[in-house]
């Protein structure tokens, strides 16, 4: 048998990403100023963005790895998330006294894992990408290693993450035993050729997959880790993992359930639908009683996973496009909200209490206006992007006939206005109780400009993003 060297064309962005991450890890030994590493990371990411856009579509490594519109869309999302996270981290990690170069290397590795997940077309590669992403995130969650909260958060995240990946593996083993392959396309052909629709073993493995992916996107009842981890982890990492791993989880849900289990749509949508409704209800209702803003945003991110699931459940290409659209919008508004939380943090003052926002508009009108935009967007009030995201997801769900879930979702959005707008109320309608000084830096300012502009521009001119999402899945699902 002759050895054939695999075509490296479609995998170029990942290879460059690996190189940059390893280079940062090495450069960390010689460079004293860690800001330089952040700059290096951003330059590298921009190069990867370029290669992601120009890479030719195609498969490599025997069909295991695919580069197509779907993966490109998700990769861009992960890279935007990465750039924004680096920008908001630069100052923050000195405040938290965790100014180590490994920090940047690990966010790059984690993003690399997500990119591999988005491109994986084989269950083995999905598992490897997922573990690379998850393990880097465990380490990042524990990055303030002298802080008991941070290490506790990482401990909880690690235990439940390892538990859930065991379920993923058992599901893979069951599929492998039934169909004799781990490739998504071959699984789909095997199912249709042998009339395995409704096969009990495959339904069992779908349930195991839902458990495992549910952990990653923090869907109820697999959400218990999320509030604790989001509260304990460094805030920049909370922002990172409330967007990245969640979107990666959705990319895998789309890939596996649409490509391999398209013929099982009735079964998996019946499993996911109650999950989606529970996620929206529990996420929004528990968020009302929170006093810590990181915890409140954690429950809000759980609720948003519920909305985004509605698009996947429809089983139509337009449905998954609306979910992709939603996740992209969510990246901008959520990281924006977290960067304001980071700005309030300074030495000796945590700034995570919701009460700390009282009267913020008096002294810091610009920051408050930005927070107002993000909170409106998270609630889903036009003309912000959050409205567009929700609008398309709900519309696709109604087109597919899921009317009751959409009614529940709309009621839940109204409930969510209570806790989002409470922050706006505190900022604008209450008197300041203490002098708040903000920790700002040019990088943070840039991140805020990008997120605010993204939230507003997509809100006013949504068509380019909606078209991009729709175009990227043409011919795939």
């Amino acid at each position: 048998m002759e050895f054939q060297f695999p075509n490296l064309g479609p995998i170029t962005p990942e290879l460059i990403m690996t190189g940059i991450a390893l280079f940062i890890l090495m450069a960390d030994l010689f460079i004293k100023k860690k800001e330089a590493l952040a700059f290096l990371g951003i330059i590298g990411t921009v190069i990867v963005v370029y290669y992601t856009l120009v890479t030719t579509a195609g498969t490599t490594f025997g069909g295991m790895f695919v580069s197509d519109g779907y993966s490109t869309f998700f990769k861009l999302l992960f890279l935007i998330n990465l750039i924004l996270t680096i920008l908001i981290s630069v100052k923050y990690i000195t405040v938290e006294k965790m100014n180590l170069g490994e920090y940047y290397a690990f966010i790059l590795f984690s993003t690399l894992g997500m990119m591999i997940m988005a491109s994986a077309r084989d269950l083995i590669l999905i598992y490897l990408g997922l573990e690379l992403m998850a393990m880097s995130t465990y380490i990042l969650a524990a990055f303030i290693r002298n802080d008991i909260k941070s290490t506790e958060a990482a401990m909880k995240y690690f235990m439940l993450g390892a538990f859930s990946s065991a379920f993923l593996l058992y599901g893979i083993a069951m599929i492998y035993g039934t169909t004799g392959t781990t490739e998504l396309k071959s699984i789909a052909t095997y199912i249709s050729k042998n009339g395995l629709i409704g096969n009990k073993t495959l339904i069992l493995s779908i349930i195991f997959f839902v458990v495992s992916f549910g952990f990653k996107i923090a869907a109820v009842p697999f959400h218990m880790w999320a509030p604790d981890v989001y509260e304990g982890a460094p805030t920049s990492i909370t922002a990172f993992m409330s967007v990245g791993p969640k979107a990666a989880g959705f990319s895998i849900i789309g890939r596996v359930f649409y490509e391999a289990f398209g013929s099982f749509h009735v079964e998996w949508s019946n499993i996911l639908l109650p999950l989606s409704i529970l996620t929206m209800v529990i996420g929004n209702v528990i968020a009302i009683s929170q006093t810590n803003i990181k915890r409140m945003l954690a429950y809000s991110s759980i609720a948003h996973a519920g909305y985004a699931l509605l698009g996947v459940i429809t089983g139509t290409p337009e449905g998954i496009a609306s979910t992709m659209n939603y996740l992209m919008i969510y990246a901008f508004m959520n990281i924006g909200a977290f960067s304001i939380v980071i700005m309030l943090r300074k030495e000796g003052f945590s700034g995570v209490n919701i009460e700390d926002y009282k009267g913020l508009a008096k002294n810091h009108p610009l920051t408050s206006a930005m927070m107002l935009i993000f909170m409106f967007s998270l609630t889903g009030i036009p003309p912000t992007a959050g409205f567009i995201g929700k609008f398309y997801v709900f519309m696709e769900a109604i087109n597919a006939g899921y009317i009751i879930p959409v009614i529940i979702a709309v009621i839940m959005s109204v409930i969510s206005a209570y806790f989002y707008l409470r922050i706006v109320m505190y900022m604008y309608m209450q008197d300041p109780e203490q002098e708040i000084t903000l920790t700002t830096s040019p990088a943070m300012g840039l991140a805020l400009i990008i997120t605010t502009a993204g939230t507003l521009i997509i809100g006013v001119l949504p068509s380019f993003l909606v078209d991009f999402a729709k175009r990227s899945i043409v011919g795939i699902f």
Binding site: Y127, K156, G177, G232
Partner: protein, 100 residues
């Protein structure tokens, strides 16, 4: 020759013991060992399937799982040590600074 069913039943039993151990034991190390048990249950069924299907994929996945589990153990124990320095306990009921 041992039948495929015996291997699958064995793997299911081991996996269930792992899940049960993870959910009921309160010591982090024991919980961690339970997760390893679950992973090895998966390995048993994968190797059995791989042998009966006369296909190498299962074996390859098993090698990946073993090496990833090793990396996972390293990271998990490192996090546990970092936590232990802040609060000397391995009882999961005492890891409760954040709740609700």
């Amino acid at each position: 020759m041992v039948s495929l069913n015996s291997y699958i039943v064995l793997s299911m039993i081991v996996f269930t013991i792992g899940v049960f151990g993870f959910l009921t034991r309160r010591n982090i190390i024991i919980m961690f060992i339970s997760v390893e048990l679950m992973l090895n249950a998966v390995n048993i069924s994968l190797v059995a399937f791989s042998f009966y299907l006369q296909d190498l994929r299962g074996h390859i996945l098993v090698f990946f799982i073993i090496s990833v589990a090793a990396a996972e153990a390293a990271i998990g124990l490192a996090i546990l040590i970092a936590f232990f320095r802040n609060k000397p306990t391995v009882n999961i009921d005492e890891i409760n600074i954040m709740k609700w």
